[in-house]
Amino acid sequence: MSVSLLVFLAFIAITLGITYWASKRSSGATAYFAASRQLTGAQNGIAVAGDYMSAAAFLGLVGIIAFQGYDGFLFPVGGFVAYVTVLLVVAEPLRNSGKYTMADVLAYRMRPRPVKAMASVSTLTICTFYMIAQMVGAGALVALLLKDSGISYRTAVVGVGILMIVYVVFGGMLATTWVQIIKAILMMAGATVLSILVLAHFHFSMGAFFAAAGHVAYHNNGQAVVKDFLQPGLRYKPPYGTLDLVSLGLGLVFGTAGLPHILVRFYTVPDAKTARKSVMWAMVLIGSFFIMTSILGLGAAAIVGPDYIATHGGNNMSTPLLAQRLAGNLFFAFISAVAFATILAVVAGLTISASTSFAHDFWTSTVHKGAERHLGEEVRVARVAAFGVGAVAIAIAVLLGPAANVGFLTTLAQAVAASANFPVIVLAMFWRRFNTWGAVTGLAVGLVSSIGLILVSPSLMGVDASSVSGAARHVIQARAWFPLENPGILSIPLGFLGAFVGTLLSDEPAAGSKFNEMLVRSQTGLGAEEAASY
């Protein structure tokens, strides 16, 4: 296990060096929040990919495919094609009409205080859900991998938390971006080598690979079964399977374009054209990586087997266990270290978007009516907020413990983004009549309905046999009120409906009269925030 620790320590050393370099280099709000808007398309694109290829992807997606075959692959497919929405609908107008956060675009034509306050709530909610999932995952992984070296779950969680606070507080967006870039490259390299090893195991015969994936033998509820992992239906079954799949797709395709930590990335480039190029880069990387998850997941099912994985750390350990089986302990250590690095980088990305939203949307715009009381206040508040966000995430992750079932939290984050953020972002940019109350009610209805539906979904509600215990046991022991795991199919229309009703019930000519201004700015880049010079 010491190799794992060494690779991870090397990553920490390099990233702390970068943080030091970034802290020397940057000063001022634009530098801190948006890396001075000087990143290139390639740099930002790789960082977007890094943000998106979280541990949930590297460990979680492969794990779902290793246990539920083809149905699991539908997560990465939807997660990837979502970038078509990002590219065609939001990236460029967002870059042209905002400053630091998604709320800038929402509040452009509206009364900023209520809109930004509400947008800040939804941003912080999404970031927190994501972050808890990552922290619990990190802690569980470390505890499992390094149990011989005396590092406990709690130490691991606190360590990850402190590191991310250091990156964000001292290095700002520039350091966070470079941490993300290095990690994305490590992860692509790891996944590529591992995929080649899987195919090499089958002597590079796709026929042999698919044949093996078509006959996976394992135990299900104590019974020996052989299943075709390429056949749909292992996870999503009638009567609600199809609806759940469509609902999942809706959440992914529209949710990605509403994820705060992805959206803030488009403010780090000089102009809309570069924002467009960064989506291209991200699509090349994310697409290649997500296709590889199917090779890794089916490979893990066929080569390692669900039975072995289940007794050696569970489905989230599929990727490292596959590496161990195919290339021994050294590669296992490397892959595990990449997984830590991933968690660290993604948590840092989430922390900076949460603290930026708190400082810019809530503190400056809502509490202090849009003006800094003294120069540099916003950055100082963001740094303090990063401490706060980090501390809260550490505390919750420690309280939940390593066995907590947190998989649904990422689904929840995506669903909130799709139901609360996406409708209001689109309407703010393209619907002249849209106004302050529309934005506030749209955000509120989307937020409440997506969270509410998940609370009463099979993810949390269900009646278990008394033999089921621990993380597998449902939190609420009653029949689920809402039959789908994914709320999008209902909560996204509700988000739009909330926005429409709120708009039509109020009259705000000022919002409409600024529509042309926003349209011209968002479509041409006239008057857009420019890159800072050093």
Binding site: Y70, F73, L74, V77, G78, F80, V81, Y83, V84, T85, L87, L88, V89, M206, G207, A208, F209, F210, A211, G214, D228, L230, Q231, P232, G233, Y236, G241, T242, L243, D244, L245, V246, L248, G249, V253, K273, R276, V279, M280, M283, V284, G287, F290, I291, S294, P509, A510, S513, N516, E517, L519, V520, R521, Q523, T524, G525, L526, G527
Partner: protein, 114 residues
């Protein structure tokens, strides 16, 4: 941003004037003509996947090529289609950029070279 063009609510602002120019309207039309059909095609193509996979899992398990089944090939095609859309958009956006340059140049001119 110069203050005078964000000025009053009653008289048309500089932004309103730009919004009314044929160049700007042309840009918006050109974008709509490209983006709306492409985006709708994308949505239909993508959502066909969960629908057919959910409704006809056995049919989608038909082996088609190199041991892969229809469901897997259809899923992979989603990646290819998304990449093709992105590539087509990149080319179209190059043309939008030319229109934007024209609009920006004109707007600067009418502001009297501020």
């Amino acid at each position: 941003m110069p203050e005078e063009i964000i000025a009053s609510k009653t008289t048309p602002t500089g932004w309103d004037r730009v919004a009314a120019t044929p160049e700007f309207r042309g840009l918006i039309t050109a974008k709509k003509v490209f983006i709306i059909p492409v985006f709708l095609f994308f949505l239909v193509y993508y959502f066909t996947l969960p629908v057919v996979v959910g409704l006809a899992p056995h049919f989608m398990s038909t082996k088609v090529i190199g041991g892969a089944n229809l469901a897997y090939v259809f899923a992979l095609s989603q990646f290819v289609v998304a990449w093709l859309i992105a590539w087509r958009y990149l080319k179209a956006a190059g043309k939008f950029d030319l229109r934007v340059q024209e609009i920006v140049a004109k707007a600067d001119e009418s502001r009297g070279g501020e």
